[in-house]
């Protein structure tokens, strides 16, 4: 009764380890193939969902608002799969949004630099220095992406339960170690961790509803209670709170919505100058 969330500097390598670990444990396996189903359910093109998982928002690329919406849909679908239990997941950023759930074993797989080099520059023959530079640039980009999207650095080893370097350990040994760790009592599901996961699912559902209108909203769920923090100017506080309550009232699992509209000082200052 454990979930394994694999993060890797190489999606291909993470996927291979994930599939092998799932097979060894008899767990179901989840990766970016799920994006097809999410695209069908949400109406968001699969390419945009993939881009949200890979690129940091920018003026010329995807907006922060769109990324937040797409990631909320991914989060909701992945957590719904996690609630079925015994799952290995790779490439869907799960390690970043279920980080507080105790029965999720978070694994970071570091690939061989040559493998990453080939993945980042397919078909090109690069020197070791050029590969190192490419890897370093990619790592910085992933760091920026994860901090921007989930306020967590996915390259920081302290955010994981286990870090495996395929430069030092054989693939089969790595799979064996992951499967072994999944059997530890500390990663067993319990009432509290299942509640945390359910809470995350409700919060993700709320985000998919709120973000198109309130992209800056911060959402937390605690059982049937959802707490929302957002910014607003004084005159619109009540209206905003009512609107949010009405929007989230549509979620069947929610029976109370608490809204905190914090003063948007910058907007208030700008309006007072007009």
């Amino acid at each position: 009764m454990t979930i394994i969330a694999i993060s890797s500097d190489s999606y291909g390598m993470g996927r291979e380890i994930g599939e092998k670990a799932a097979k060894r444990l008899g767990y179901s396996y989840l990766d970016r193939e799920l994006l097809k189903d999410i695209a069908k359910c949400s109406g968001i093109p699969e390419g945009k969902l993939l881009k949200a998982l890979e690129k940091t928002p920018s003026a010329l690329g995807m907006s922060a608002k769109d990324q937040a919406i797409y990631l909320a849909h991914i989060e909701q679908s992945v957590i719904a799969e996690f609630l079925k239990d015994n799952v290995v997941c790779c490439g869907l950023a799960a390690h970043l949004y279920v980080c507080g759930v105790s029965h999720v074993l978070k694994v970071r797989v570091l690939s061989n630099p040559e493998v990453i080099g080939k993945e980042l520059a397919p078909g090109k023959s690069l020197s070791k220095e050029a590969v190192d530079k490419l890897i370093s640039r990619n790592e910085n980009a992933r760091k920026r992406w994860s901090v921007k999207a989930f306020s967590l650095d996915e390259t920081d080893p302290s955010n994981y339960d286990m870090v495996i370097s395929l430069n030092k350990i054989e693939m089969q040994e790595a799979v064996k170690s992951i499967a072994g760790a999944a059997g530890y009592k500390k990663f067993k599901a319990m009432s509290y961790s299942l509640k945390c996961l359910k809470d995350e699912e409700i919060a993700a559902k709320a985000k998919t509803i709120l973000f198109p209108r309130f992209p800056d909203a911060q959402v937390r769920a605690n059982g049937p209670t959802v707490v929302v923090f957002t910014k607003g100017v004084k005159r619109e506080k009540q209206k905003k709170a009512l609107m949010i309550k009405e929007m989230l009232g549509k979620i069947p699992e929610v029976n109370f919505v608490e809204v905190h509209v914090v003063n948007d000082i910058l907007r208030e200052a700008a309006e007072s100058l007009r």
Binding site: S102, Y184, K185, F187, M190, S191, Y192, S193
Partner: protein, 132 residues
């Protein structure tokens, strides 16, 4: 007649035992309630309970110590930890030390009843009327 499932309930807040005792008794269990962990441990030394429900944060002796003592005395006993200070590290510590379940406060009597029913089933003494 089937043997009743014996439950020890330990929480230093009297209201918790007072509220939960009747809810667990309704399941057909024999329930003993304690507020003082020292007295509870003395009783645990005398009798092997099927299920122990203990708070974690208590003065003098904490729930983790109670868990360790129970598992040492009776490895088959299922220990359910309850706490108002739930966090991932504490939950993992409790599970690693042999807790059967970990529940965050506040919880409803129904949530505890479900955890007890699951523990009773794992012990091979399912509580027919409430296992659902």
């Amino acid at each position: 007649m089937d043997k009743k499932v014996c439950v020890l309930l330990l929480d230093d807040e009297p209201i918790v035992g007072k509220r939960l005792k009747p809810a667990v008794e309704k399941m057909g269990c024999d329930v003993e309630v304690f507020e003082d962990p020292r007295v509870a441990l003395e009783r645990i030394d005398e009798k092997a309970f099927d299920i122990v429900v203990t708070d974690i944060r208590m003065d003098e002796i904490d729930g983790i110590e109670v868990l360790e003592r129970v598992k040492k005395k009776s490895p088959r006993t299922k220990v359910i930890m309850i706490t108002g200070y739930a966090m991932m590290s504490l939950a993992r510590e409790a599970m690693e030390k042999g807790a059967y379940d970990f529940i965050a406060k506040p919880f409803t009597p129904e949530e505890l009843r479900k955890a007890i029913a699951k523990a009773a089933e794992a012990l091979g003494t399912p509580l027919q009327s409430l296992a659902a």
